[in-house]
Amino acid sequence: MMDEQTYIALVPTVRHVVLREAARYLPDEDDAADVAQEVMLKLWQLRGTLSGDKKMLYAYATVLSRNLCLNRLKAKRRHPLLRLHHSDADEGDCAEEAAYVPATPGPDVALEAREAYSLCQKAVRQLPEKWRIILHMRSEQHMETDDIARALGTTAGAVRGMLSKARARLLTLINQQNEIRRSTH
């Protein structure tokens, strides 16, 4: 078991290890940073189950990072023709979403809290795990931006960016769910 203080003390080193491993596989620095971020989020979520051994933690972080890199490479390789589209869609829509406050054409009927809850749950289920973890850190654990940054080994600015992307994605998913619900009625 590893308590939070110990973990946070180790975070900078772990992030360094993870980033270095990711850079071995991904030529693009931003991609590597992305992967590192995801690994840190997963590790944060798993911190309760990690053993106290530092070396084990580094090894585990390395493997996690490598696997995520390989997944990413495989996803890009899978459809060579769609690769351009794929990378464009991935980055483009994140950048767009970050600045985007959706105008939400809701249903005419006022939503009951219960309905809203199930709608939100459906949307959360489709949310990528990394976004879910960061939203959880913020909204459930009520962590300050600086604390999150420390836990992930990044800066407060990066955390704000992640929060922004995660919220935008969740809102988009909620709108989609809303559309689906309306079209089925």
């Binding site: 600045a99 709608l119 919220r167």
Partner: protein, 242 residues
């Protein structure tokens, strides 16, 4: 009220940029939980805040990869179709070639053995008697108007005539010694056969070949193959005879 809406609007904008403080986020959540009427454009925000307040993030369970299996299955389907097409092509070509060989071999047997009985007849039309039974199915076809059939017949006649001339020329020279060649053609069993045995055997093979050629519809290919074999046999005859 107007003031509050503007305030909320501003907070929402900063919320989307990730710039709100925890305190502001709590106030937003309170607003969406308690406000009697929420403007239309904030519906999605209302869902988000009430959902998260209700614990949607906790209870959603692990993320499910939705698309992956479908994608892989499409790939598998394409691969399967390609594999089946390849298999069809290979089987088809194998069957086609096997067919060709079988017809060639049958025709070869028919012609090779047909030479044997024609030799002792010793008149000047030995090949005519050997050729007429094998071409009987071809000749029996009633005259057709299609140009394809005409061409087929013309071709057959042409090759037939050519080989007749060759037959006559070669056989005239080879008549004194047809025996060693005919024994060679009989694919030589280890013990040498007596002459009557040999002629019995050849008669048997000839009749078998003829019934085969009558029952199966020999097409142009078979006839051409037969003529080719015959020409080759005649060449060997000539070579050994000279």
């Amino acid at each position: 009220m107007k003031y509050e809406e503007a305030h909320i609007e501003d907070m929402l904008r900063r919320f989307m940029k990730g710039e709100t403080t925890l305190e502001e986020e709590r106030r937003l959540a309170d607003y969406f939980a308690a406000a009697p009427s929420i403007p239309h454009r904030w519906r999605a925000f209302a869902v988000l805040f009430t959902g998260i307040d209700g614990g949607a993030l906790e209870s959603a369970g692990p993320a499910q990869p939705v698309e992956k299996p479908g994608r892989r299955r499409v790939w598998l389907k394409v691969a399967g179709v390609a594999a089946v097409l390849c298999l069809c092509y290979v089987l088809g070509s194998v069957a086609w070639h096997a067919d060709e060989h079988a017809i060639d071999a049958n025709a070869a047997m028919a012609t090779a053995t047909a030479e044997r009985p024609s030799a002792p007849a010793s008149d000047h039309q030995p090949a005519a008697s050997s050729a007429s039974p094998t071409t009987a199915p071809q000749a029996a076809i009633p005259p057709q108007t299609s140009s394809h059939a005409r061409h087929k017949r013309a071709l057959a006649r042409h090759t037939e005539e050519a080989s007749h001339k060759q037959d006559q020329a070669q056989l005239a020279q080879n008549e004194p010694q047809p025996k060693p060649q005919s024994e060679r053609q009989r694919e030589a069993p280890s013990a040498p056969l007596s002459d009557s045995d040999a002629s019995d055997l050849t008669d048997h093979i000839v009749s078998a070949a003829f019934t085969y050629s009558e029952h199966s519809q020999l097409d142009e290919r078979a006839i051409r193959g037969r003529d080719r074999v015959r020409a080759r046999v005649m060449e060997q005859y000539a070579h050994l005879g000279l």
